[in-house]
Symmetry: C2
Subunit: 471 residues, 2 copies
């Protein structure tokens, strides 16, 4: 690989000077830029510190998300991005209402911490009071007889274990994704779940849920893990006596509101070549300030794009997409694809899994373009990143690349801590480890720099088949 | 020490059989009981699991605290304690009202997590909106000119570091104990503080505060640490522009209500000897379920007392005192002392610092009764407990022993994690490590067993001088 890198350096050194680099200085190479990012990047931190401090939570479709877009537009312009725009689209907007309340009425009166799930209905301000029926997982709920939950509150309590690759989200996630809909079909008035999360704090994990076609949405909320564990113990101690809960959740739909995708570019030397698309999402759930989900992702891609520019104007344009309204249904991702489907993308990458260290890299062209895959693998090895055998699926915000059946790269982050914080009030700046954040910027700088200076098509042949993304 | 222990074993073996031990079996010694506690005690867990599950939060002076007393009375009776009683007293009762709300109105609108401090006033349901003035610590606040806070909200943001012995509570605590009163004297409408706590969760640490004589209480609340850090960053980013906060805190005083102290005894062979008093408190702040503060303490002392009884009826009576209303002003401790001041206590010990491992033991008779101090030190060494050079001060709930200038022992627990949880919603059962809880029961069993079988007075001569307790 040494020869290849030397050749790449020669190309970069030959590129015309940008405004950011004084012409008298020796031009830093891409490798130098990546190494400098690892040592002392401050750009990503500036972004995520700024948006969490000056904007805070950015619930999809609300004025807070709009303030987030305005803030991001200004930041991109101040940081040397061209063609910065806020591309509007309309969406159906759900808001959480007043803080949720859950109280055990009998036999063991006490309050439990609860938060409503996205797209669920209101109990009304007076709440509903009903007997709770416990299920240990979705399979038990599915096995409950039709109509057996009539007039009841379903409680599904499935425990999630931390995993480095985040794979247990697929095991625990259905509790949130489908339990409320299944319980509603069996007559339940409402559903509460144990949070889909791996922490032990009194901070419920919200997130979207879905109701099957024709099923009227019911109220549904997530209990914090300590509260769900407490409710489990109540069932053990009640010895068959009914457990009654009062639940007050007051979310509502605002109807259609305007949201938007923020885009910006590092314009390439040959803008007629398909661009490299870097994506993240700008919205967050209302509970936290969207630091790890996904302020950090936007910070990483923006910092990396601007680092690549510092190494010399790239061949291809690098476009950053700060998608809107990911959390409540990929509204921004879908709108971006619909608006730009006829503009081919060379390759798409997303950062949306926190700010911890990248440890593995996957592509969907390992078999069809092995030379490029190997080149990237060799370039990121010095950051402790291995080449994986999985097929990259891309993130939720790059629907356009999947719709185009294009090239994808996944830079896999360490997710061991991610589901401690995901969709909770605890998603705040202090959870970001700046050393690991910088490693992300370094790896992204290296990878994006290679891709943006690749003259040949990145995907040669059909992409390897991949699974759909998970929110 | 071997000879002494052998002698003690001989005494225990010679003692009459209790109802708990089948007479045909060889009687377990005190040492065996302590070792069994370490290996597999389930009594302490049963207590703390039960009270946190079946009662939950037990705010001082409220009906929830009364349910806690009823639960504890029943538990003590079911677990072989004699002379179980709920001794009533009257107290002035403060309740927190609706969940607190703090919102930055400008320049960076967003919500911050806040909880009212004990004994503070209400903003009224409409709240108050005012400019925030930041101080890094109480000394800075004290230095502010008289009247300079008129119409303002004071914000005192002092950071606390974890310490094994909990000593940094003395450094950080004044922010909570006195800042609101000082700010009120300088004209502040209200005060918010960075939580006196060492965690990074969106869970404010409440606790009592005080206003000087003649100063009208103002509203005051604790921000969670991530929120206080965010507000600090806002000051850095606002560059002198005023920061305006809307604060809604609605605590109120209920006037005089009835509370009580729950007591129970393991009656000694010679009830005319002064008893050994083991204390904890039954109330908790409303936010959590009072698992580590102080369900665990009550669990530990009750389990230890009942273990000592299993080793044979002790010479002296062991009395457990589950004090009421400690958090809001030691109401139970003071009432107990007032009611029983004429009944001499042989020695007092309290457990009120969580459920983590005991690592050191202090007494206030190391110099006046060195033989007994050394005997205890030798007996607990096998549990990893060292003998300390500090003078035991006793806990908040054994005012009676200090009032009697009596003997005190402190079994020092590891407090490294304690201020992550102290006075927060996160004070829940899952934070208790059963292995460390059992070590507490083992050490307490050993120590209480020695004390309760000590025929001579425990304090010979005056106690060493000691500092007053900290809530």
């Amino acid at each position: 690989m040494k020869k290849t890198l030397t050749a790449l350096c020669a190309i970069l050194i030959a590129a015309p000077a940008t405004a950011n680099v004084p012409p008298a200085q020796p031009r830093p190479t891409l490798e130098n830029q990546a190494d400098m990012a690892l040592a002392n990047d401050g750009v990503a931190w500036d972004f995520v510190e700024g948006i969490t401090t000056e904007v805070g939570q950015r619930q999809a479709g609300t004025e807070a998300e709009a303030r987030g877009r305005a803030w991001a537009v200004q930041w991109l312009r101040a940081n040397g991005f061209a063609n910065v725009a806020d591309e509007p689209y309309m969406m159906s907007t759900w808001v959480p209402g007043e803080p949720g309340r859950a109280e055990i009425v009998s036999p063991f009166p006490q309050s439990l911490a609860v938060a409503p799930l996205g797209d669920t209905a209101s109990t009304g301000p007076e709440g509903i009071t009903a007997e709770v029926v416990m299920f240990r997982n979705v399979a038990e709920l599915v096995a409950a007889p039709e109509g057996s939950l009539k007039g009841k509150i379903a409680f599904v309590s499935n425990t999630m274990t931390p995993t480095q690759d985040g794979s247990q989200y697929g095991f625990a996630g259905p509790t949130r994704w489908v339990a409320a809909g299944i319980a509603a079909q069996k007559g339940a008035l409402a559903t509460v779940i144990k949070s889909v999360g791996t922490d032990d704090h009194r901070n419920p994990h919200t997130g979207g849920t879905t109701f099957p076609e024709g099923v009227t949405p019911t109220p549904a909320g997530a209990l914090s893990n300590p509260d769900a564990a407490n409710l489990e113990r109540m069932f053990a101690r009640a010895k068959g006596k009914p457990i009654t809960m009062k639940l007050v959740l007051t979310p509502r739909f605002l109807g259609e509101t305007q949201s938007g995708n923020v885009v910006g570019e590092i314009v390439g030397r040959n803008p007629s070549l398909p661009p490299v698309l870097l994506a993240c999402h700008l919205d967050s759930w209302w509970l936290g300030t969207g630091a790890i989900d996904d302020g950090a992702g936007c910070a990483i891609i923006a910092a990396a794009a601007s680092r690549v520019a510092k190494a010399g104007q790239p061949l291809r344009t690098i476009r950053v997409l700060f998608a809107g309204a990911e959390e409540t249904g990929l509204w921004g991702s879908k709108a971006y694809s619909a608006a730009h489907i006829d503009e081919p993308i060379a390759v798409g990458l997303e950062s949306d899994f926190g700010a911890d260290r990248i440890w593995r890299f996957d592509s969907n062209f390992r078999e069809t373009n092995p030379a490029l895959h190997k080149k990237i693998a060799a370039a990121v090895a010095r950051f402790g990143v291995s080449s994986g055998n999985d097929v990259a699926t891309g993130g939720a915000d790059i629907n356009i690349v999947r719709d185009q059946k294009g090239a994808l790269i996944d830079l896999q982050q360490d997710g061991t801590r991610y589901f401690d914080l995901h969709h909770t009030p605890d998603d705040t700046l202090d959870k970001i480890d700046i050393v690991q954040l910088r490693q992300n910027v370094a790896v992204w700088t290296q990878v994006v720099g290679i891709l943006a200076n690749e003259p040949a098509p990145i995907l040669t042949g059909a992409p390897s088949p991949s699974a759909p993304p998970i929110m």
